[in-house]
């Protein structure tokens, strides 16, 4: 994002809207630091500049800077997936897709959340750690997948490493007995990154919304806890498109 210096009246109204504090006074005018800006366009969309001085920067869709927009602006459609959002439908449609099957756990690593964002160099630390732990299959419909240069090592495309994004989601599926190992890996890599990530675990539940004890035991064993609030797929969906037409 950018602010037209000749239009800006220096009211500062836009400044607190930036989640990453990229907008600061430069003299008497507000200015966006392009290195810090995630291109989330929150300032343009919500700050209501009284003189319309805020605009998209001319290089916002230039590769690799465009990654900032695709991963940071919730209303942007990702070029790699053709859908809005940083992840896939994951647990939200699992009652229809069965992407995470019985006996599996879907693990999502929500990069940069809440609010801080993360450099792609730090994201690579996580993808490498996951690869070292023996997980080489990141969900192919997730935009992170298109960033991977080498699935065996978890290396991302080198030209991307100088960029940063407000959020991204790494999605993997593991067998229930592999959950402990991946949680241990995440605990270790958490010490290496300069930002934060949230960890989610999705699993098919038993009748009565009973969470499988094997999953809970793995979580406890690695010193993780789970929040009292969770997201529940109510099991009310069904498929009607024929399998040969399915895109997933």
């Amino acid at each position: 994002m950018m602010i037209h210096e000749e239009i800006c009246v220096g009211c500062g109204r836009c400044q607190p809207y930036c989640p990453t504090a990229a907008i600061r006074y430069d003299g008497i005018k507000s200015r966006i630091d392009p290195d810090v800006c995630y291109e989330c366009s929150t300032c343009l969309r919500a700050a209501h500049c009284p003189v319309d001085a805020i605009a998209e920067s001319p290089d916002v869709y230039d590769y690799p800077r465009a990654l900032r927009r695709y991963f940071s602006d919730p209303s942007a459609t990702h070029a790699a997936t053709g859908i809005q959002g940083r992840g896939t439908e994951e647990s939200k449609t699992n009652d229809v897709t069965l992407r995470v099957k019985h006996g599996e756990v879907g693990v999502a690593i929500e990069i940069g959340r809440p609010t801080l964002g993360m450099s792609i160099a730090d994201i690579q630390k996580i993808t490498r750690a996951i690869a070292r732990a023996g997980v080489h299959k990141i969900e192919p419909h997730n935009p992170i997948h298109s960033m991977i240069a080498n699935e065996e090592t978890g290396d991302l495309k080198p030209e991307m490493l100088g960029e940063r994004v407000l959020s991204a989601i790494i999605e993997i599926n593991v067998k229930r007995d592999e959950l402990r190992g991946i949680l241990r890996t995440l605990k270790e890599v958490a010490r290496e990154v300069d930002s934060v990530f949230c960890v989610d675990a999705c699993t098919i539940v038993e009748p009565g919304l009973k969470i499988p004890e094997e999953v809970l035991e793995s979580i406890r064993a690695e010193g993780f806890t789970w929040r009292p609030n969770a997201k529940v797929n109510m099991g009310l969906g069904r498929a009607w498109e024929t399998p040969e037409k399915q895109g997933c």
Binding site: P114, A230, K231
Partner: protein
């Protein structure tokens, strides 16, 4: 959206709100989903959500958009709907209507798991999957204070800025804006429509005494 399971706050506060998603599955029930989603949104209106956005419009309920405009926008196959309720009984009503309609579109509810379990049992619904939050990891020293995160984590994508929250606390405290109007302003950056302005107003009133009126 995944982040709706990481909402922070006291159990008492979290128990008051539930996020409900209507989510067609790409390749499985996208085709023909638009009229079904529209019907489900009509039913949601009967239950009374406190915020809602369809992906076909991306404008929340406080943006000046009318209910008819929201409904009329749902013509695109695969339109998803994000909504939030601040009352268990309203959510229950929504689920009863959705269950009766039997449109076959996936429904997610984010909330305190025990309360969702109770509701499912009361309605005879058999939930399929749970997505658990295992917390925040990494350099957590860089995070804004937990007080502020109670606001910012109401937006799944992290675009409600902690600086805006602090600025709004200042503006409410100095009488420039009411707690509810300030919360509507805080809800505006959130394009997923699950920022709950009623809970936010309660939080603003609760946190205000803890903060000074210095500029953010």
């Amino acid at each position: 959206m995944t982040h709706s399971l990481h909402r922070e706050g006291s159990l008492e506060s979290l128990e008051k709100e539930y996020v409900l998603f209507i989510y067609p599955a790409r390749g499985f029930n996208y085709k023909g989903s638009a009229p079904k989603v529209r019907h489900l949104v009509e039913l949601l209106y009967q239950a009374g959500p406190v915020n809602m956005i369809p992906t076909s419009l991306r404008r929340n309920m406080y943006s000046g958009v009318t209910n008819e405009e929201i409904l009329d926008s749902i013509t695109v196959e695969g339109t998803r709907v994000y909504s939030v309720f601040n009352d268990r009984e309203k959510l229950k009503k929504a689920l009863i209507l959705i269950q009766e309609a039997n449109e076959g579109i996936s429904i997610m509810v984010s909330g305190v798991t025990d309360r969702v379990r109770e509701l499912a049992a009361e309605l005879g619904i058999t939930p399929h999957m749970v997505n658990l939050s295992l917390g925040i990891h990494g350099n957590t020293d860089r995070l804004p204070p937990a007080d502020i995160r109670e606001f910012t984590t109401m937006c799944g994508h992290g675009v409600v800025s902690p600086y805006l929250v602090k600025d709004m606390i200042r503006r409410v405290k100095t009488g420039k804006v009411s707690a509810f109007d300030g919360s509507v302003l805080l809800a505006e950056p959130c394009t997923c429509g699950i920022y709950n302005p009623f809970r936010s107003a309660e939080l603003l009133r609760e946190k205000m005494p803890l903060y000074t009126v210095d500029r953010w």
